[in-house]
């Protein structure tokens, strides 16, 4: 740019705070000699409401094309002065602020030096503003409905919170029923409340209450692809056939009673199910589903026992097929959860009467494989129970403490002892963490023996004439162990891993979805419009799931508001397509996945909605094809030249 645009310079004294060090009269005199001939004014307190009005009038009178404000930190008042420019009819991005208060007046002892430095910085700003471009904020309409992936307590809570605010929600669950883990736990830590009783009112509300109008629950459904960005996501869904029509089925389960085929019940970790059955009594929605791999009819054999007995015509639907669909949403809440480490430590693997925490929960549950009776595989009652805590935590594979296993172990000890008088209960611990007031109550009433062990390598299982024991190598302890429960670490659920991959979200060392900030942004993913709830963020308890479900819904409500468009900050990076060499370096480095590859033009393309203007891609582009608007190379060069001249 050859012609110097008419520039106005506003020098703020900050009520004398700045002018105490910087001699604005001297600077003004110097600017009068400046070849660019800027118009200059000194103001007592430029950010003051009345002063802003006066300054706006002054700007209107002089009609400058660029404005330089020498005042405080742009971190404090850049917005204020952009507003000033707008009110004077000047594009707000024609502003350059110089921080003469925090970074000159307050850090420079000598007034002469401070004044010279201020003048130098103003000179640099005069050079920089020549290259400023008029930028315009873009407004994009956003959808206000939300897709929630995962219908455990966190997802349910998020969906209900949103629906109560009148938002439309698609709640996506890969299992044939919903409620997540705790709905399968009979009693919950720390007050031994009934899990289904805690969750079912909300689940009922979701299925039949006034909010149900706003919520579409899709069971047996997985997300296969996600496209779009904040405000306008498209999720491709694939729903497996249930072979049961939810509109017609009355949930009488006559079909299950007459079905001749049996399969193992994966949800109970034991016991059997018919080929058409519900996972356990009370699972919601109260519908059976057909295991296509086991159903005789679906495998070409003569059957149809269920069809013959079903009291409702059409409730069983063997013509059901996979359904693919696309749902559109403004935001996505990921509530895909966690699971227990699926492998048993070698010393215990393959042994009888060894339970994982989850399978023990099911054993204790009335709806579980033994109807809630504490029995071994042979149907006999155990004389002793050994609960191994930290079973896999603090290890090479899982280095962390999940923080919930001690809770579970205390609970098991209590419930098992109550179920069976005279049961010897021992907790084998490496570390114990039972924080919180409520937890302390259960802890102080715990009557189990506690044996410390050093590491899993320390433990072996042996048969003795007194029955089975766990031998603790380091201290020689022999723990009676008719029945063994392994409280293993919590690891990311399959759905969490899959969703992280689909959305290209980063994960932490353990594979949980990494939030934008561990402390202040734990419900936010780095991707705008994708929020996190429950244990996809890391191990947590039910309280946490409810809280984070509410929080994620709150964020969605505050970011997606009916009638409020998304304002896109124009200070983003843009690719000059004709200069792009097609190396894709930028795509690799963008922390926000804002850059996509346009296969038609073979160039990179940046979404202004996703870009946050960090400029990392600018620095990496070997072709110099990317410009950070507001911080372009030309602007920075001019500024550098300015401070050095």
């Amino acid at each position: 740019m050859n012609k110097q645009p008419r520039t106005a310079v506003i020098l703020c004294t900050c009520s004398g705070i700045i002018s105490e060090k910087i001699d604005w009269d001297a600077v003004q005199a110097q600017l009068a000699e400046h070849p660019d001939k800027p118009v200059v004014t000194t103001d007592e307190l430029a950010c003051g409401a009345e002063n802003l009005e006066k300054l706006a009038a002054w700007l209107k009178e002089h009609q400058p094309e660029r404005v330089v404000v020498a005042a405080c930190s742009p971190r404090e008042h850049e917005r204020t002065f952009r507003g000033l420019l707008a009110s004077a009819g000047i594009n707000p991005y024609y502003l350059q602020m110089i921080n003469v208060r925090e970074q000159v007046a307050w850090v420079t002892a000598d007034p002469g030096e401070a004044t010279r430095k201020a003048a130098r910085l103003i000179g640099a700003a005069l050079k920089r503003v020549r290259h400023h471009q008029p930028l315009v904020e873009r407004h994009v309409p956003v959808r206000t409905d939300v897709a929630v992936i995962g219908a455990g307590p966190a997802g349910i809570q998020a969906a209900l919170t949103l629906a109560r605010a009148g938002r439309r929600v698609t709640l996506i669950e890969k299992e044939p029923f919903f409620g997540g883990m705790p709905v399968r736990f009979e009693e919950l830590f720390p007050n031994l409340e009934c899990g289904p009783c805690l969750l079912e009112p909300g689940m009922g509300e979701l299925l039949h209450g006034p909010e149900s109008e706003h919520i579409e629950l899709l069971t047996l459904t997985e997300v296969t692809e996600v496209k779009g960005s904040f405000g306008n996501w498209q999720l491709s869904l694939r729903q497996q056939p249930r072979y049961v029509n939810p509109e017609l089925c009355i949930g009488c389960m006559v079909c299950a009673a007459v079905c001749p085929e049996r399969r193992e019940n994966p949800w109970n970790c034991g016991g059997e199910l018919a080929a058409v059955d519900g996972p356990f009594v009370g699972a919601l929605p109260n519908l059976p589903h057909v295991d296509a791999a086991r159903c005789l009819k679906l495998n070409g054999q003569e059957c149809g026992a269920c069809l013959a007995e079903c009291p409702v015509e059409g409730a069983l639907d063997f013509g059901d097929t996979i359904r693919d669909s696309v749902v559109e949403a403004g935001a996505i809440i990921v509530a895909t959860g966690a699971e227990e480490l699926p492998v048993a430590p070698p010393a215990f693997a393959g042994k009888d009467n060894v339970f994982s925490a989850y399978s023990f929960e099911r054993l204790l549950a009335m709806t579980g494989p033994s109807g809630g009776e504490l029995v071994k595989g042979d149907g006999a009652a155990p004389a002793s129970l050994a609960i191994v805590q930290c079973a896999g935590s603090f290890d090479d594979a899982v280095t962390y403490c999940s923080g919930t296993c001690c809770q579970a172990a205390l609970k098991y000890a209590h419930i098992a002892a109550a179920k069976q008088e005279g049961l010897t209960v021992t907790r084998l611990v490496r570390e114990q963490v039972v924080a919180g007031v409520n937890a302390a109550r259960l802890f102080s009433h715990d009557h189990s023996q506690v044996v410390r062990y050093g590491g899993l390598g320390d433990l072996t299982v042996a048969e003795t004439d007194r029955g089975r024991v766990i031998v603790c190598g380091s201290n020689g302890a022999e723990v009676p162990a008719d029945m063994i429960v392994l409280c293993g670490p919590t690891v990311p659920g399959q759905g969490t891993t899959q969703t992280a991959r689909l959305l290209e979200l980063g994960v932490d060392d353990a594979g949980f979805i990494a939030p934008i900030h561990a402390l202040s942004g734990s419900f936010l993913s780095p991707l705008k419009g994708v929020y996190l709830a429950g244990t996809c963020r890391g191990p947590g308890d039910i309280r946490e799931a409810f809280a984070s479900g509410t929080a994620a819904a709150g964020v969605a409500l505050s970011e997606l508001v009916e009638g409020r468009d998304l304002t896109v900050d124009p200070q983003v990076a843009v690719v000059a397509a004709e200069q792009c060499a097609g190396c894709k370096s930028c795509i690799r480095v963008c922390p926000y996945k804002a850059i996509s590859w346009d296969d038609a033009t073979k160039t990179a393309d940046i979404s202004d909605i996703l870009c946050r203007g960090c400029g990392t891609c600018v620095a990496v582009c070997p072709a110099g094809a990317i410009t950070a608007q507001g911080f372009s190379r030309a602007m920075l060069r001019a500024e550098i030249e300015g401070v050095l001249s």
Binding site: G506, C614, G615, T616, I640, V643
Partner: protein
């Protein structure tokens, strides 16, 4: 992240760079990221701690924005020293721009001798929004160090 994603190194006429430093006071350009080091520099002011007047701050959104060529250009335009101050590892507002900046800084320092610029004229460090004292310290130390280098026309 990998340190190998730095193709952005154009050759520069090295010899003129230092020669370009003018007589008089040393001139230092400090690239500060908006969220950590620039905020730290603000805090230095609020705490009334000294920063040498020779240091001119150029604000960028992220230290990851500062490519090696920009730094070399800054030398070429006459800077006696260049600082890049980033958020601490793990604190980057943009997740990992600071680590890219660090990788580039390492590479740049290795290249500098070949380009005829003393690597001592370049300084990379982490300064958080809270580290007022550190900002004061590193700017003062760096200015003193650059003043002491041969070829710098300081103190005349």
């Amino acid at each position: 992240m990998s340190c190998r994603t730095m193709p952005n190194v154009a050759p520069h006429p090295a010899a003129e760079m230092v020669a370009a430093s003018a007589p008089g006071e040393v001139r230092i350009v400090a690239f500060l990221c908006n969220w950590c080091s620039y905020a730290g520099a603000d805090k230095t002011g609020m705490n009334q701690l000294p920063v040498p007047a020779e240091v001119s701050v150029v604000r960028v959104m992220c230290s990851g924005r500062v490519e090696p060529t920009l730094i070399l250009e800054t030398f070429q335009k006459g800077a006696d020293g260049v600082m890049v101050l980033a958020c601490h590892p793990g604190d980057c507002h943009y997740k990992e721009g600071n680590l890219r900046a660090f990788c580039r800084a390492e590479l740049l320092e290795r290249m500098m001798p070949q380009l005829g610029v003393d690597p001592a004229r370049f300084y990379f460090d982490y300064v958080s929004a809270a580290e007022a004292e550190k900002f004061s310290q590193v700017t003062n130390d760096f200015v003193a160090a650059v003043r002491g280098l041969a070829g710098t026309d300081s103190g005349r």
